[in-house]
């Protein structure tokens, strides 16, 4: 979701980067893994604060879904989840910080788009969270699907892609609605709360966070329908393919671990499993770690430190968190979602 000023910033940024690219004054390309090892810590760009994804407490300790991905990568390299330097980045700064080498990796709820790869010279390693625009409604409106929202009064933030998607969705489904547009998300939420509208639309993960701000969160429900694609994932520079591959396979490892039943709680026993795919994952067979420049136990180290995908999800966003976001699309392909990782072999 972008508002007009963010789009302007991005255009300016893209132009600037194109200029930099043309002048060939980029930082040294390859060797990110070597410099991370030399430095002894992973520089990981995260959000300045986003409930469930990236939060810093009073003791300066970071937590969240995006934060845990940084820790998983650090654990695969160092066998130590604490060897991460978190670099909080604004939406406007995030890509230039990655380009200029201020961070080795960006794990900051960023939507994967063509422009960000082809235009900015970046590479998304995959999708860690399938987000999308959704609808929050008051429970007493008694609807269970976005297709039942004909004639609804919908609150939305002005100048966002959400506003455009909203109009498209109603038009495509031959429904009408009354729009109540507000310059900020906070005002849109207030209007929803005071009854100026009976529907609020934003990205679903944000709606779950907004719902917690209501005086009685359980009076509102978030409909299961998603009307846009907002695939979020970690990003690396496009000019270090070995590093890109390493980070990409850490993501695949977390998903494969869930599918194989390997968790932070049973990681120690995985090395003595008789199952070939578990043994390969644990590094007892195959020797795949060396191909990545890592110890053969790299994948198991990541899971031991932060857990498999399900553990990371449920702790930060799901049933064990205040957000309580259903897995939905972010469920394994074999369990009703779309998470699918290539085999670790």
């Amino acid at each position: 979701m972008l508002n007009a000023s963010q789009i302007a910033i991005r255009c300016a940024l893209a132009s600037f980067l194109a200029l930099v690219l043309g002048m060939s004054v980029l930082p040294a390309a390859a060797g990110t893994l070597e410099s991370v090892k030399q430095r002894g810590t992973l520089q990981c760009g995260v959000s300045e604060g986003l409930f469930g994804f990236s939060e810093r407490n009073a003791q300066d300790a970071w937590s969240g879904f995006d934060v845990d991905f940084c820790r998983a990568v650090a654990s695969a390299i160092f066998d130590d989840p604490s060897k991460v330097t978190f670099v909080p980045l604004s939406a406007g700064d995030r890509f230039s910080a990655l380009r200029t080498g201020r961070v080795d990796l960006l794990s900051r709820n960023s939507t994967w788009t063509l422009e960000r790869e082809a235009g900015l010279g970046l590479a998304f390693v995959g999708i860690t969270y399938h987000d999308g625009q959704g609808f929050m409604v008051m429970r007493d409106l008694n609807v269970s699907s976005a297709l039942e929202l004909n004639n609804a009064k919908v609150c939305v933030e002005t100048g966002t892609t959400s506003q455009l998607n909203l109009a498209d969705f109603f038009r495509a489904n031959s429904m009408t609605f009354e729009e109540r547009a507000f310059p900020t998300a906070g005002e849109a939420l207030n209007a929803f709360q005071s009854g100026q509208c009976n529907v609020l639309t934003r990205d679903q993960s944000a709606l779950y966070a907004e719902r917690l701000k209501l005086p009685r969160p359980k009076d509102a429900i978030i409909l299961p329908d998603v009307i846009s694609k907002e695939p979020l994932g970690p990003v690396t520079r496009a000019d270090d393919f070995a590093w890109f591959t390493l980070v990409k396979w850490v993501n695949f490892a977390l998903v494969n671990a869930e599918e194989l039943g390997i968790s932070s709680k049973n990681a120690a026993e995985a090395t003595s499993s008789g199952k070939p795919d578990v043994r390969r994952f644990a590094g007892v067979e195959g020797g795949f770690g060396k191909m990545l420049g890592l110890d053969d136990a790299w994948a198991l180290r990541a899971v031991r430190a932060v857990g498999n995908y399900a553990e990371i999800y449920e702790r930060n966003l799901g049933v064990e968190s205040r957000l309580g976001i259903p897995r939905g699309l972010n469920q394994l392909w074999s369990m009703g979602g779309v998470l699918y990782a290539p085999p670790l072999r």
């Binding site: 359980k218 599918e259 039943g261 259903p326 699309l329």
Partner: protein, 209 residues
Amino acid sequence: MNPRRLPLFYGIAGAWFALVACVAISQAHAQAARAAPETLQVLDEPGRISTEEVVITDGPYARQMVFFRSNEAPGTLVIHTSERFLYIVQGNNRALRYGIGVGREGFQWSGLVQVSRKGEWPDWRPPPEMIARQPYLPRFMAGGPGNPMGARALYLGSTVFRIHGTNQPETIGHAISSGCFRLANGDIIDLYERVPVGTKVVVRHGASL
């Protein structure tokens, strides 16, 4: 596929047959694929009253419509034991989701069964294994608001397993040392109305090492 031709269950069905009732427990080989967020050590409390009105109203275990891709026909029940959720497939990539409590046995098997019978306020006959463990339990308890089986029961195949209510709604979302699939009474009543005899039930558990 003709539902009548579905096998009662497969997978680790042998072990399953040996288990007695919803309540048999064998801690020795209880291997949770994914450890439960919390395992409640609560014993059954026959006589404690829970009414038809009790539903889970808040949090992830509240009844709610969710996104759910499935090749199963609408109406099918899908139970994910490690997640503590029961889904009733609605088609159009969605399912109605209920929070459930599961037994440790739930981790040990997956299978395919049918709802063979339905009952309101079922009676309860704790099996001998359970009496041995909790000697204070009655040998028979007639159905009613104080019965641990709760307001409704959906009997699974010819087994002694069932999806039932509970007089302990706080156990929803947990692995309880005894019990098969339990819902709050108001939620099992809601489910009961949606599920005819013959409904296909798919039970899935997480992988294990």
